[in-house]
Symmetry: C2
Subunit: 324 residues, 2 copies
Amino acid sequence: MPDRSYDFDPFHPELEELRTTRNRLLPSIRSLPLLRIGGNDRDIRLKVESLQPLGSFKIRGGITAAAEAAKAGATCLITASAGNFAQGLTLGAQLCNLPVEVHVPDSAARIKVEAIKASGAFVVEHCFTDWWNIMQTRQTENAPRGAKFIHPVAERSVLLGNATIGLEIAEEWPEVDVVIAPFGGGGLCVGIAAALQALGVSAEIVAAEVSGSAALSAALSAGGPTLIDRTPSFVDGIGSTRVLDEMWPLISAFIGRSVVVPIEECAGALREIAFSHKLVVEGAAATAYAAAHRPEFAGARITVVLSGSNIDPEVFVDLMRQRG
Amino acid sequence: MPDRSYDFDPFHPELEELRTTRNRLLPSIRSLPLLRIGGNDRDIRLKVESLQPLGSFKIRGGITAAAEAAKAGATCLITASAGNFAQGLTLGAQLCNLPVEVHVPDSAARIKVEAIKASGAFVVEHCFTDWWNIMQTRQTENAPRGAKFIHPVAERSVLLGNATIGLEIAEEWPEVDVVIAPFGGGGLCVGIAAALQALGVSAEIVAAEVSGSAALSAALSAGGPTLIDRTPSFVDGIGSTRVLDEMWPLISAFIGRSVVVPIEECAGALREIAFSHKLVVEGAAATAYAAAHRPEFAGARITVVLSGSNIDPEVFVDLMRQRG
């Protein structure tokens, strides 16, 4: 890993910048109040990013990144993404009248690739190795002059977009003790933590991971990113074989705890969110919800970030049928 | 039908009263912004009452009725209800420290009866004929001194609670052309229409009914309540064999149009709301959503009232599986 300094480390946005960023998002996102749900021995409130346009919080980072790049004079945006981020960035680019080039691995779900194309992006497919190389080097062939590469996670403007979630939580409920969010690349947790800090809210940010894919838990134990075996599951929006090296300084600065949830608990949480709280969510969101119900958070005031709702309809129906 | 005058006819609440009523509700309900959804040739926004505590808009009428009765000196509340209203009233009564007596038909779903008991009400079961008689006469045996009977539909304070939905819609989106709400007893549509009128918003209120259970459509054709055959379906929160006579003056004053939706369209709408908009709703809500997509509303600015989400989990899963 080459020693490089990134423009996002350290990440300490100020309140003013967070507010400006959020105000720019407001015409395009849904800024919903926290949904207070029952809880026998704890006070849980849901931050319902699952109802965002495009089905996830990533719209915040996508729009913010496009706007910041346009402000800096970019004439074209490039990203490497297999999923939701590409759609968010494409939407943001449209708002700024910029073209977008999205590099995807040929292993990406066809339905997602088609959605990215339909949203107006120019899509380039690669074998996984080449694609991963783009993600690591941020270099693509024949990049147009003035093009700006936007990393879906390790990018200041994307973190800034994510941070607006923390701003909204802290403004609405400054007394919150714990904010629990699913851990994928770490950008959601880091963004929220930075915003809480900017607002002087002392709540702990807790990462939620699913068993069999808990790269952060392994990194926290090892004192740094370490390779793990990953077991695929219906919780496909989070988890990896290794924490991104370039994110580690921020992650270790902001996140001290990961709760690892067994996959059966994630499934039960997904059902409970549908049947009791009437929301369709994806596995990552259910993981955070399940974590919030663990014994160690008894008595706490907890915000659960329901990060997204992009779940395959058939997977959703199958999970609904397996009633516990 | 004896000729009686009711305290709710005419129903012309003033803006001030609507605002006071809504402010009283705010600590207990979720006042969510309209969710704007895509629509090729129309602008549809969802009023998401399905996310209310207790799973339906009826919490608004229940709390309002209890508060108004307490203000008028009632020492005990009595109602006849087989469903959601009883829970809403019981919650409202708790907020006012009043006991509640709920009369239910012995045909009511056990799960609903247990939920009413669990919410703290004293429950009395009757054969259907006796229960219907209570509903018609508003008389119960051994009613405690100072008790006030609250009709779940034909009651001024309940209409006032429902009207706060119209207040919220009109304040947020005064340009709306059409508000479509499911038609059960008529209280939801009438309440909303009265609020729109109070705010000087000229939007049309349209009732949504399901085929095989469209008592309003029959009444509008006949010029008054008329008996119809009713086909039971998964859309169990609306529809009846006849419009309530005592509601007819208000209904005919406020509602000029009913859209009757085939049951298959309701099922398709319920799936679309789950898979595209990530919300679990009951059949009545899906009926209003389906109505909004009918050709006659092309080009319109439409608010759909997603009235509730109290659907049997097994029914929901079965409907999800029947993908069209």
